[in-house]
Symmetry: C2
Subunit: 263 residues, 2 copies
DNA sequence: TGGGAAACGAGAGCACCGCTCTCGTTTCAT
DNA sequence: ATGAAACGAGAGCGGTGCTCTCGTTTCCCA
């Protein structure tokens, strides 16, 4: 059965949990109760579905944290829930759809962690906010290695990120651009190639900020650097070189602050 | 059977192909011909073994390039070679060992590509050498997406990189450090935390070069940045933002040259 | 020049995987 | 009340990595 066919069939059932609606929602007619209005009846079946959906998510999340995405098994989840593996296919069309939910949740988890960390800093303290964001990314990654690998590591083979993932994926990026937009325009203006100017303009536009494009270009480099360092640390490239990466990471953060002129 | 047991058993057979010796070699007594001296007899069996070993490697490499590490299948390799899958276990103790060979070969392929690119530049042209290295890394990655994912993406689940992989892995790094050692010491001396100084000293020592540690720290950051950008491009993070990453990548290379004072 | 040990390839089999299909049951909307 | 839809279980398909056995071939050395 194709994904779309599955959508059409499944759409006839009620769904209310975040993930379920995110996966299933798309503009098409609804049937019976649907409960987009939060109101009451909520039959036995709907309640059970919501609960099971949540349970599956919970177990999947715990399995992901334990064994990683590659070893995440639909059958194991079913086993832990005391269900036949085939039963899970009433809720997810495929293992990939399950992975998609986990990807979205991971992006959101990282995004919230970063936002919380930055919000704890005095907004006028740009250097402090930059450091907070960087360290929040790293600390989240260290605490959620498999989730980090899922969203920033090599993509799973047959998998193509569906549209639903792009918005949560930009949560951190948006904060990053917002921060840069608050910095004072750089003094050294290096020439930007025309296509690059266009791309950077697009980024600024997406984030809804006026930004000095030279500064933004530097920011993109630093953004890649942060994830590069975290990936090196988590994926083993730093092994035997920077087994404790605290110092080198913090040093790069300080260099980044200087490069952006935040100090 | 444990890996070590397999080693011990297998050691009794002759082996001469690069990979085979790399996997099997470790200090322990040899039995019968072994042919560490290249000389002649080379029985029928030994010749056949070497040939099949090479064939397996060839097919594995082609499968890796086609479908990626996660979908690389011992059975499929055996099928393509017209063998029973069990026969392959006379040559590799496990799928992981096969992957290990591919990891080593990938590191070497990247290393050679980078070295060739840098060697084509006038040694006195530090900026040119830096650019050559960076662009070589990226172009190799774009041409060998699955190999790149194998060595720089999320590690495969149960897999722990064996010692044999660390030397080939540092091929690019060594060139990088050598280049930096040729740059003039940086003017701005930012304070380095004591543990960081120690780690950077160790890096310089491994690479066998005298290096200004402040410059080396900047180099580590740029090194992470390069791989961060390549990973973003290959793994989809840049999708819809820098679909063509030529311009942004080259811009970062120019910024890196300035940061290292190579211009 | 044997003869025993080792290496070899094939095949069956085990436990797992994602996924599909059918079938009897339960819930729901009309 | 009834028919349609949703549900869970179970069997089953084709795939995986890996093991074990068995008959054959090659090799080393006595």
């Amino acid at each position: 059965m194709s994904m779309q066919q599955w959508f059409d069939k499944s759409k006839s059932g009620a769904h209310f949990c975040d993930m379920c609606s995110r996966i299933l929602d798309s503009p098409r007619p609804m049937r019976h109760n649907e409960a987009m209005n939060d109101s009451k009846p909520l039959g036995v079946r709907a309640r059970a579905r919501a609960e099971l959906l949540a349970d599956v998510g919970r177990v999947a999340r715990s399995q992901l944290a334990e064994v990683g995405a590659a070893d995440l098994s639909v059958r194991a989840i079913a086993r832990e829930l005391g269900l036949a593996s085939s039963a899970l296919y009433r809720y997810y069309p495929s293992r990939d759809a399950l992975l998609t939910q986990l990807i979205i949740e991971s992006y959101d988890s990282l995004g919230e962690h970063v936002e919380r960390a930055e919000d704890a800093i005095d907004p006028a303290d740009l250097a402090g906010r930059y450091a907070a964001i960087c360290h929040a990314v790293r600390s989240w990654a260290l605490d959620h290695r498999h989730e980090y690998a899922l969203i920033y590591g090599s993509p799973v083979p047959g998998y193509a990120a569906p549209a639903d993932t792009i918005d949560p994926a930009t949560r951190v990026t948006r904060r990053f651009v917002a921060l840069i937009s608050g910095a004072k325009p750089t003094r050294s203006t290096r020439q930007l190639a025309p296509p690059l100017t266009e791309q950077l303009d697009h980024v600024a536009q997406l984030a809804g900020h006026d930004v000095d494009l030279n500064l933004l270009a530097i920011g993109v480099g630093l953004w890649a650097q942060i994830y590069g360092m975290v990936s090196f640390e988590l994926f083993g490239t730093f092994t035997n070189i920077f087994d404790d990466a605290d110092a080198i990471f913090d040093h790069q953060v300080q260099l980044g602050i200087a490069a952006l002129g935040l100090d």
